[in-house]
């Protein structure tokens, strides 16, 4: 009888807490959103399932969780905690990105820069709420709307907040079609939304090959902290554009990025244990996911994302004051680097006003510039705040 009692107390039913149940419900919600609503299914589904895995209770002596040394999940999570997966994802993004729209209209790059204001204003906001400089930097990067960059930076600056930051970043990326359109409509007039832009010029093969090399050197010299992410992004792009390494480019943009996405998604999800007591200076502190801190991170992330969208839009309007050939300000919203979702949203909103207005190719320019911009911002924050 004692043995049976001991077994029953060691089952998941015996150890399940209300916090675990809440997290499991959130995980199921993510899976539902991925399957039913198609919101970033490639990310939300692995993350959602990982959340369920991470919140299944087990005896402490069994050491199976992400944070338990020697467990299988801890080895998979090492790619996240050591910042290994994000650069590989960046290489895959580089290998699938066509920079020619950006090359054909370089002034649109500035919109990708303007959208990064979301990052820096959120840092100030996070400091106001009591976060340290490093924590604020890691939270602010959510405004870049770039999951890999958020994970990379938080693994360097605030590893204890990584789970919440990663979940917030990917959630908002998935919610791009929900969050951005109201802001876009609020900040533009109908006349502005109807602006048609001239088709982009043809870009030569040589330009496409020279660009990743020169741009990488420039970025790495200005912000050495961005070397890893930007380096892998442009390396992946060079694999694609050189035409002589098609096999490598194909692997980087398909199998490799898929494998890393699976490992990253599941392990980030599994890192969201509801309650995780850690002893700090002899005092037990909850470093789990369900804390008021996580809620603040989600609120700051939403703020950051909205400001980033508004920043790109308003800067496009500002540029129009000086330009002969006007930019459709909607394109500025694509300055957040959720590629290619925010560019698609621009196309969708533009076409809802005029079905013959095709903004997708124009929006791709600030969109990929946003990827570069957020990686540069991460590099800056890393170099300033890590010391």
């Amino acid at each position: 009888m004692d043995m049976l009692q001991s077994f029953l107390s060691s089952t998941g039913f015996g150890m399940m807490t209300i916090q675990n149940i809440i997290m499991i419900i959130i995980g199921i919600t993510f899976i539902t959103l991925a399957i039913a609503k198609h919101y970033e299914p490639l990310l939300l589904l692995p993350i959602g399932f990982g959340m369920i895995v991470g919140n299944m209770p087990f005896a402490a002596s069994m050491a199976m969780g992400v944070y338990d040394e020697g467990s299988v999940l801890s080895y998979i999570y090492m790619g996240v905690s050591k910042g290994v997966y994000p650069p590989i994802i960046f290489m895959g993004i580089g290998a699938m990105t066509d920079f020619s729209y950006m090359l054909s209209n370089p002034k649109l790059i500035l919109l990708g820069g303007a959208a990064q204001i979301g990052i820096f204003l959120t840092i100030v906001g996070a400091m106001f709420l009591g976060f340290t400089g490093a924590e604020a930097g890691a939270i602010g990067i959510i405004g870049g709307a770039d999951g890999p960059t958020s994970i990379f930076l938080s693994s360097k600056l605030a590893p204890h907040l990584l789970g919440a930051i990663a979940i917030a970043a990917y959630s908002y990326m998935a919610l791009v079609p929900v969050i951005q359109p109201p802001i876009m409509k609020l900040l533009t007039t109908k006349k502005e939304r109807l602006i048609k832009m001239a088709p982009p010029r043809m870009v030569s093969k040589r330009e496409k090959i020279f660009f990743p090399i020169i741009a990488f050197i420039a970025c790495a010299l200005i912000v050495p902290g961005s070397l890893t992410l930007i380096g892998m992004l442009f390396f992946g792009n060079l694999l694609k554009e050189s035409f002589v390494t098609e096999r490598l480019a194909e692997t980087a943009r398909t199998s490799l990025i898929d494998i890393i996405t699976i490992l990253l998604g599941v392990s980030v999800g599994a890192s969201t244990q509801a309650v995780r007591m850690v002893e700090i200076n002899g005092v037990l502190v909850n470093k789990g996911f369900l804390t008021p801190q996580s809620l603040m991170i989600f609120a700051l992330g939403a703020f950051s994302f909205c400001i980033a969208t508004a920043g790109g839009l308003l800067f496009a309007k500002f540029m129009n004051l000086f330009l002969k050939e006007k930019i459709n300000p909607l394109v500025g919203a694509a300055g957040v680097s959720a590629v290619p979702d925010s560019a698609r949203v621009v196309q969708m909103v533009g076409q809802s006003e005029d079905p013959n207005n095709h903004l997708l190719m124009h929006a791709m320019a600030p969109n990929v510039a946003g990827v570069i911009g957020s990686a540069i911002a991460a590099g800056i924050l890393w170099s300033i705040l890590v010391v």
């Binding site: 790059i109 106001f128 400089g133 741009a215 970025c219 035409f243």
Partner: protein, 88 residues
């Protein structure tokens, strides 16, 4: 000390406002520099074209190089045929 005062003090202690201004400035400068490079690149390439004309390179097409492909296909077809005969 009130919540607002505490928050503002935390921003001052962590140099929040200067970090935001300097950070945003550097991001903008880096992207503007890239935009400048891109704007100049076509002119540079025109010059380069005069010295080394651009060759048109076609993307690599995956071509099966194995000379045994035909033999393998024939072997598979034969195996399937024999299996179907057995089943039949």
């Amino acid at each position: 000390m009130g919540f607002i005062e505490k928050g503002l003090q935390n921003i001052v202690v962590n140099n929040g406002s200067s970090l935001a201004i300097v950070g945003m400035g550097i991001v903008f400068f880096a992207l503007a520099f890239i935009a400048l490079i891109i704007a100049v690149l076509p002119y540079f390439l025109k010059l380069l074209d005069k010295i080394v004309p651009e060759k048109i390179v076609e993307p690599q097409v995956r071509v099966r190089t194995s000379s045994d492909d035909g033999a393998i296909i024939a072997a598979i077809a034969s195996a399937i045929y024999k299996k179907k005969q057995k089943i039949g």
